[in-house]
């Protein structure tokens, strides 16, 4: 064997063996993937050991939404995610802080592989927040995890509908456990206020948690389908 080989790919599926994986995806940006991921994680952490992996290298926002003030990772025969509110959380922000991390395609995939290969999770469920689009991160999740399930987030806009159709066409029906239509509140004053309150609660975990109570049924249904 003369060629240079990457050892990481051989261990990724073993590293996450036995852990349910839910990727929260959308072909379109700004539909609320990260907020949905964070709220789902908070709700499901009441019934299972939940890990949250934020794979948005360009705009990692999970720590901000969850209200994590100080970011740190540990080391114990691997990278250990940060414990927060009974969850384990790891984000690209743990490594880049508030600086930009401009990566081109191959290196973005390299960064994703590194985190998947060296992080040791103690979790029943890993919720994976992803960047918008059907690029490296989605493709790597499809490639490495045959058992990963996808929750597709969308909005009622016509542009989001087009993006949704493309996303579903790529993922295939068997891997999608549901489509969540977010921001559907335009015709309901109460819903508009609720949506605004959630936006304002980002970064305030207690407030977010109390508002998330209204989504408990949805979280239960997702858990049932996993």
């Amino acid at each position: 064997m003369a060629e240079r080989n990457d050892p990481r790919e051989s261990i990724i599926d073993r590293r996450l063996d036995g852990i349910k994986k839910l990727a929260v995806v959308s072909a379109k940006g700004g539909v609320g993937k990260s907020t949905v991921s964070a709220i789902l994680a908070l709700l499901l952490a009441e019934k299972a050991k939940v890990g949250v992996l934020d794979l948005d290298a360009y705009n990692p926002s999970i720590p901000t939404i969850l209200g994590m003030r100080e970011l740190r990772v540990g080391e114990d025969r691997g990278i250990t995610p940060q414990s927060f509110r009974g969850m384990q959380v790891l984000s690209f922000a743990h490594f880049s802080g508030d600086r930009a991390m401009p990566l081109r395609g191959r290196e973005l995939s390299d960064a994703v592989k590194e985190l998947l290969a060296v992080t040791t999770w103690d979790a029943d469920l890993l919720i994976i927040d992803t960047p918008p689009g059907t690029g490296e991160v989605t493709l790597d999740l499809l490639r490495f995890f045959r058992d990963a399930r996808f929750l597709v987030v969308t909005t009622p806009s016509a542009l989001a509908k087009m993006a949704l159709d493309r996303e579903l066409e790529l993922l295939g029906r068997s891997r999608v456990i549901g489509v969540l239509e977010n921001m559907s509140e335009r015709d309901c004053d109460l819903c508009v206020r609720y949506s605004k309150e959630i936006e304002m609660a980002c970064g305030d975990t207690d407030r977010l948690m109390s508002l998330a109570d209204g989504m408990r049924n949805m979280a239960e249904e997702i858990w049932r389908r996993l």
């Binding site: 064997m1 050892p7 790919e9 261990i11 025969r77 930009a100 990566l103 290196e107 390299d110």
Partner: protein
């Protein structure tokens, strides 16, 4: 100690390719700054009868704007630790010393690479 996780990846890779590995050659990229002693002792613990050759590879970053190569400049202690965990984090902390661009590619010396596995 995340060298253990990297060593486990190497062992997993080798065991997928050879039932009785005799010798492996591994490159350690300068960027990831792996602790050679810990890495080697982890490998030895998991594959005690395999000869292990470790070679260091210098890191070369190539600017995509001016196309010049640059060596890894001194990073601060905290930044070096973050790049040790995730080599691509270097993109958050380094820019081209000649043109100032943040757009560069890690050409060589990123992390752990297996050059060869000998055995049957």
């Amino acid at each position: 100690m995340h060298e253990w996780a990297l060593a486990e990846a190497v062992v997993s890779f080798v065991s997928d390719r050879a039932d009785r590995p005799r010798r492996i050659r591994v490159l350690l990229g300068e960027l990831q700054n792996v602790d050679e002693e810990i890495f080697l002792s982890a490998l030895k613990e998991m594959m005690d009868d395999v000869e292990i050759d470790l070679t260091r590879e210098e890191c070369v970053l190539r600017c995509n704007a001016c196309k010049k190569d640059m060596k890894l400049k001194d990073l601060g202690e905290e930044e070096r630790e973050l790049v040790h965990f995730l080599p691509e984090a270097v993109h958050a902390y380094v820019s081209c010393p000649l043109c100032g661009s943040r757009d560069f590619t890690i050409e060589k010396g990123r992390g752990v690479v297996i050059e060869s596995v000998e055995g049957s």
